[in-house]
Amino acid sequence: MSGQGRVDVEVESKRPDESSRGKAHANTCPGCGSHYRDEELAQTLRVCPQCAHHFPVTARDRVDQLVDPGSFVEEDSELRSADPLGFFDLRPYTERLAEAEVATGLGDAVVCGAAAIEDEGCRLAVMDFAFMGGSMGSVVGEKFARACESAAAAGVPLVSVAASGGARMQEGILALMQLPKTVCAIEELHESGSALLSVLTHPTTGGVLASYASLGDVVLAEPGALMSFAGPRVVAQTTREKLPDDFGLAESNYRFGHLDAIVPRGELRPTLARLLRLFGKA
C-alpha cells in the first residue's frame, strides 16, 4: 500500500501496480504479455524488447541509466518527512513513511544530487513512484528547491525526472504549498541563468504536473507516460463521458503542444547530453 500517498490521481489499473514491485508479475509486460527476469529488463533499461513498453524505473536505477559512471554525488539525503498534522487515517502517516523507507531504501520520493552526463555537469532531481506513489510533501518540495539552488550556485542546468501521483495529502495544506515553493525556486534558478530540463515519466500527475514538472525550458516525456492534472478515473467520474484512448498520455500531450519531444528511454541520456551542451555556458 505504499502508493497510498497520491491524491490527485488514481493511476490506471492497466499499468503494473507499483505496490507489487519485486513480485514476479511486475516483470510481465502489460503491452504484450511477455515475461522477463530482472536481469533481462535491466539490460534493456527496463524497456520491453518485444513491444517497447516502458517499465517503471526506480530513482536509483534512473540515475545509473543517465549519468556518467561514478559521477553522481547525492545531496540532502538526510531529509525526512515530519508529520506536521499528526495525520492518521486507517493507519498513521508515520507508519506509511517508515514502510516506504524500508521498501524503497529511500528517505523520501525524490533523489537529488550532482552529476555529469557525457561530461556535462548538472544537478539531478529524480522521483521514485514506489515511495508513497511519488507524492510530493515538504521533503520533495524542499529537496527540489535545494536542487534548484545547488544548480544555480554551480551555474549548471537542473535535470528533473518526475514520477508522481500528486501532492501528499497526509501533509495537508503544506503539501499544496510545495507547488508555489518549487515554482518560486525555479524562478530563482532562471534568474541565475540556469535551465530546467524536465522529463516526465509514467505517471506524472496532479500537483507535480501543476508545478515544477511543467516549467522546464524543455519538457520531454517517455512514450506512453500518463501526464494529466486530474487522473482518468476522476475525469471519467466527473464528466460521465468516455475518455479518448490516449487520454492524458504523452502522445496526446505532444499533439496538443505540451511537450517538446517524446524520447524513448534508450535515447534519453544522449538527448539530455545534447540539451546540456546547448544550455551550457560556452
Partner: protein, 306 residues
C-alpha cells in the same frame, strides 16, 4: 507554533523599518489572539459547510461592495472566455487595482455557466493576462479564491490544465506589484493556489484551503467518501490551522454566523483586511517585495532529519 515564533522574533527586533513593522506586530498579536485554542473537528466541519454555503457571498458580490468603479475584462486572447474565473479593473478607494477571482453561480443556470467555479486552462490564461496588465501599469493585484478545484475534464486536460496552473503561479511569483490573495470560500487544491501566490494571503474565518476535498481524501484513504468529516478533521483545512502552519498571513473575521448572514458586513471586513495588507506592503521596493514573497513560499513545509 510558527506564528508564536514569528511574533516573538518580531517583538525582539529593533523597529528598523519604522511603523510598518509595528503594524505587522499588531496584526500578528491580533491574529494570535484568535488562536487561543485549536479548532475542534466539529468547528473544522462547520467551516467546510460555511465555506460551501449556498448563500455565501461570491467574488462578484464582494466586487460590487468593495470596489467603486469596476470594469470586467474578458477573454484569454487565444480561444475562450472562461466565466469560472473573472478578471477586471476596479477602484479600491482612490486606487486602481486588478481583480482576479473564481466565480461560482448562484442559481442553476449560472452555476452551469460558471462551471461551479471550476476553471479551465483558459481561465488561468485570462488571469495571467490580467496579471500582466497589473504589472504593466503598476496596479496592485487582488485575487479571490473560491473553487472546488480546477475542472477535471477531457478538454481541460487537453488544453493543458497542469501547465496552466504551474504557469499562473510562476506569473504571480514574477510580479513587481503588491499582491493580495483572499480565500473567500473553498480554496481547492491546485485550482486555488494557481491564483494565490501572493505577498499576503488572507483567509476569511470560515473559508477552507486544502490540498484535496474532504470527500476526495476520504474516498482514497478511508475508501469511503462518506468519511469526509474524518478526513477534514485529519487534514485541517480551516483558517486557524492554515495560519498556524504559516500558509496564510491573516484571518479576516466574518459576521456572526458566517459571511452569508450579512454580505455588506463581510465585505467591509474583507476590504479592511485588504487595505491593511496593502498598507503593510506599501513603500517596499518591488524587487525586495518579490524577494520576500518568494522567500515566504520557499520556507513553507515541515522537515525532519534522518
Amino acid at each position: 507554533m510558527r506564528l508564536r515564533e514569528r511574533l516573538s522574533k518580531l517583538g525582539g527586533m529593533k523597529l528598523l523599518r519604522g511603523t510598518k513593522l509595528s503594524g505587522e506586530l499588531e496584526r500578528l498579536q491580533d491574529q494570535l489572539d484568535r488562536l487561543r485554542s485549536e479548532p475542534t473537528a466539529e468547528e473544522i466541519w462547520r467551516s467546510v459547510e460555511l465555506a460551501r454555503h449556498q448563500d455565501r457571498p461570491y467574488t462578484l458580490d464582494y466586487v460590487e461592495r468593495i470596489f467603486g468603479e469596476f470594469f470586467e475584462l474578458h477573454g484569454d486572447r487565444g480561444r475562450a472566455d472562461d466565466p469560472a474565473l473573472v478578471t477586471g479593473l476596479g477602484k479600491l478607494d482612490d486606487n486602481t487595482v486588478v481583480l482576479v477571482g473564481h466565480q461560482k453561480g448562484r442559481d442553476l443556470k449560472e452555476r452551469t455557466k460558471r462551471n461551479f467555479g471550476m476553471a479551465y486552462p483558459e481561465g488561468y490564461r485570462k488571469a495571467m493576462r490580467a496579471m500582466a496588465l497589473a504589472d504593466r501599469h503598476g496596479f496592485p493585484l487582488i485575487t479571490m479564491i473560491d473553487t472546488p478545484g480546477a475542472y477535471p475534464g477531457v478538454a481541460a486536460e487537453q488544453h493543458g490544465q497542469g501547465g496552466a496552473i504551474a504557469r499562473s503561479q510562476a506569473a504571480m511569483a514574477r510580479l513587481s506589484v503588491p499582491t493580495i490573495a483572499c480565500v473567500i470560500g473553498e480554496g481547492g487544491s491546485g485550482g486555488a493556489v494557481a491564483v494565490a501566490v501572493a505577498d499576503r494571503v488572507l483567509m476569511q474565518e470560515h473559508s477552507i484551503y486544502s490540498v484535496i476535498s474532504p470527500e476526495g481524501c476520504a474516498a482514497i484513504l478511508w475508501r469511503d467518501a462518506a468519511e469526509a468529516r474524518k478526513a477534514a478533521a485529519a487534514f485541517k483545512p480551516d483558517a486557524a490551522h492554515c495560519l498556524e502552519l504559516g500558509v496564510i498571513d491573516a484571518i479576516v473575521a466574518e459576521p456572526e454566523g458566517g459571511a452569508h448572514m450579512d454580505a455588506d458586513a463581510a465585505a467591509a471586513l474583507l476590504k479592511q483586511g485588504i487595505l491593511t495588507a496593502l498598507e503593510e506592503l506599501d513603500g517596499l521596493d518591488p524587487a525586495e517585495r518579490r524577494r520576500q514573497r518568494r522567500a515566504k513560499y520557499r520556507a513553507m513545509g515541515v522537515l525532519a532529519s534522518a
